[in-house]
Amino acid sequence: MMNRWSSCFEQMVSAAAAVFAMVMFCSPGSAGAAAATASPREKHEYTNVIMISVDILRADHLGAYGYKKGVSPQIDRLAGQSVLFENSIAHSYLTPVAHMSVITGQYPRQHGMVSFEVTRDQVAKRTLPEILKYYGYETAAVASSPEFFMRYDTESGKIVNPKDIFSRSFDFYGRTMPDETGSTRVNPVAALNWLKANKDKKFFLWVETGMLHPPYSQTVPQPYKSKFDPSDYTPFYDRFPIRLGRENVDRGVPTEALFHVYKGNYYLDFEPIYRLEQKDVDFIRGRYDAGVYYTDMFIGELLNTLDSLKLSGKTLVVFHSIHGENLGEHGYFFHHDVYDTEVKAALMFRFPGNEKAGMRIARQTQGIDILPTILDYLQIPANHEAQGASMMPLVNGDEAGYKGSEYAFIDRLPWWEYVLGGWHLEHQSEREAQYTPLETGKMKDYRTLLQEKIGGGQYPPQCIAIRTNQWKLILRQRSKLLEEISWWNFISGTRFPVEMIELFDLVRDPMEQKNVASEYPQVVEKLKKKLLEWDEANQKNRVQTKPASGPALIIPYP
């Protein structure tokens, strides 16, 4: 039996080989022959991808989104060649948190980039560059926001540049070097050189710029730096300096000055010493716009380089803002909350051949939809870990085919006060120049308060928002605690109230100035229910802000 069986077996194998060979050579319709002729290729086999990520960019400061000051001619040109999303919502007000959602398609609680001191193993690994590498892409990045490449080592007290969370899937991970002002937040021009040297490869290039970050216009050279200044203007912070005897060099609108401004007043020693005028606000916004303008010049150069290298026709360009910025609309100039000023993002897809150029999509979409859309376009299977949905059906005019949520969910994660307490107050020793002696003295108490109330990252997470194109509901279940630990309340010496529930009618009140929660209790109920359902379904990671053990590497911020 054994012998017979094995000899039969040999026959089978040799006969099979013979049959297969025969089929290969004799039958033109066979699979073997078909492989030799050209089969329709999938887009990932020949399409480059460039993702341009602009940090702190407000969509409504771009011409393409209705801004009238003409600060973005090049981006507007790009918009004309692209499909533009009018209502793309970022998931956080903080750069690494929001951007990780873009490149993983996951809410922050899922991807784990939920503080400025998590370790690489706590964060999702399967990012856009990682997946594209599976498909043979050369991956390169040039980033200028230190959040993406710089860490403070709490043990050595030194700034280090680890190969970690954001850089790990890149073949080339470039960064900008500090300019004469000491900031790395300059245009990432090295990206142009990389393009020229690698134009013949199939590539994914990530170009990131943090130029718009406070201090506004710090790295913008003249004459652009003061291009949008009001005439005959002296900044209020020069007239009321925080510390006397500082060198008077224009390094943009200083972050420390912005940290002393709240609800129209400039505070020093916990007293309002100056009421900001329209001219002051125009100046600050003008300096922000100067950054947009200078960024825009770089975008133009990047687009021209693509044209001259003949890459535009085979490159998908994704342009987006990582998150926005509050420019006084809610009393402060910074990004620290979940208002539309901070989370409404610019988003455009320029498809090869300028397919669907000029199309504008009003349907609300989310940051987590960007990765699925890119993969879908490239004909790469969607990653099951992504929580968003491809927007390609919207691009193709099939609104019903879009499986994304009708709601956008935003997390104030981590709490801004937690970030502030971590690096700004705890680990940086050179704060003296930025605060008055009285403030510096009291700051110890404030640090102690933060440590007691939200130290170790064990703060309650309930500071979340839900958004549709009509409504925004913000839920702060621990509003009293937020009030207690508020930086603005500390620096102003005042107790400004924090609302537990805010509802805004975005159609009538896009800048979210009037809380209408009491007028629309049913809307509040409905949205709150949806929001809490989402909160319940996305519990994971929301408080795992600290590494389990070992030295902490903190992103030095702000």
Binding site: M2, M12, V19, F20, I131, Y134, G136, P381, H384
Partner: protein, 496 residues
Amino acid sequence: MNEKQNEQDVKLINRREFIKYAAVGAGAVAATVAMPGFMMGNAEAAYLSKLPMKYKDYNVVFVSFDALQAAHVGALGYQRNVTPTIDAMAKKGFNFTNTISVASWTVPASMTWFTGVYPSEHRLTNKFSVFNPPNNNVLSNLKKLSPELVTLAEVLKQNGYATGGFTGNAGVSGGFGYSQGFDEYFFEKGKFGSMGVSIPKGLEWLRKNKDKKFFMFLHGYDMHGQNEPEGGFDYRFVEKGYDKKYTGTPKEQEALREEGLANGKTELRDADVQFWRAIYDEKIQRTDARFKKFLEEYEQMGLMDKTIFVLTSDHGTEFHEHRRFDHGFSLYDELIHVPLIIKLPKQKTGKVIKDQISSIDVMPTVLDLLDVKMPENAAKQLRGASLVSGLKGKPVAKDVFFETDYRQYTYKRGIQTKDGWKLIYTLEDKSRELYNLKKDPHETKNLVDQEPRKAYELEQRIFAHFKAIGHDLNAKQWIPGLNPVYDSQAKGAQKK
């Protein structure tokens, strides 16, 4: 690696050559049919082409040889002659040499034959669902099958069949819902019973029902680690010089399994592995002989020509191929590759079908052959496909899926493509194992890092598959533990 291990490998490779061969491609399979005389003579081919494929009102005898590893079946390439009866039926019938079970242990795997849905759907995925000593030591048996599901026995009963199940209890105990649809369902509580008990019970029932049309499920744990032959082993295949470190008892078997679960591996010498395989072969041979006697009595009742036989196993078992022992905890080939033989009434000549198929295809195939339709409310239940077109020579090879949540020790999901790629995804730690079965039939080289795109795409297939059947694997936290599987392990626990 010593000589004996090499010998072992040779045997395994022989089995694997089937898959290798099948993987030559659908073109070759189709060509097989177009080339009479390749596998069989012209006369046999002509015979098969005329063989009817509808058997309305015929009987079905469905036999599960629990824990029969495909590699130990003669008809699947095993060298030692331990399955002559099974092999003879394989020769007369259709021998599916690449049948992959949906799970690697009895409770989840067997219910898929009877419902045609995946274990995640019929939910018999663990014997005891709650056991977390010391605080929560309550055993909770999964008593009821999902009430929406219709079982094979129910469908046949509705179509006028007498239905009888004769089993060794344990994983196919009536308590889990296995008795659903059976007029009579035999299982002895607390036992891993053998066919030595279930066959006589079955024959008794047959004598009463032989004039009706009937569906019979025959099952035994004779080959399973928890069963010992009545009268003990005669150690017929054990090498003379073995130092008797082990004697082959269920207790030893259990201890080896638990050691593997606790440490991730079991310490065994090659001689021990040889011993355990020898013990296994003795069990298999004894079972085959029992089955032979059953067939003789069956023939005497004059039922052979009126009966479709389905011979299979729910899962295999591990003999240290991946450094562990027993089954349930992994999804390697030694655990999910099972025999499947379908012999039609009066069939004289058989055929080897190398196409990869799944145990989930068995129920649709049986219903198709009997010309019985699913009731309207369950028309969409069956996830598999009838293999009848395969019996007619058409290609039926498919990508297959499998899973195990064994004792909540681990939560694994897998896919095996018809072109020989396999990905196992472990949910609790998101680890992945990718194997190229054509080049690496023993599943020893994890290619996740070398073939990231293949791993990525197969991972997406697994998640898409489970999502499509209503189980979003991302919607749940997978927290491993180690629940008991036998009452004896759950000392101090209370049954609920």
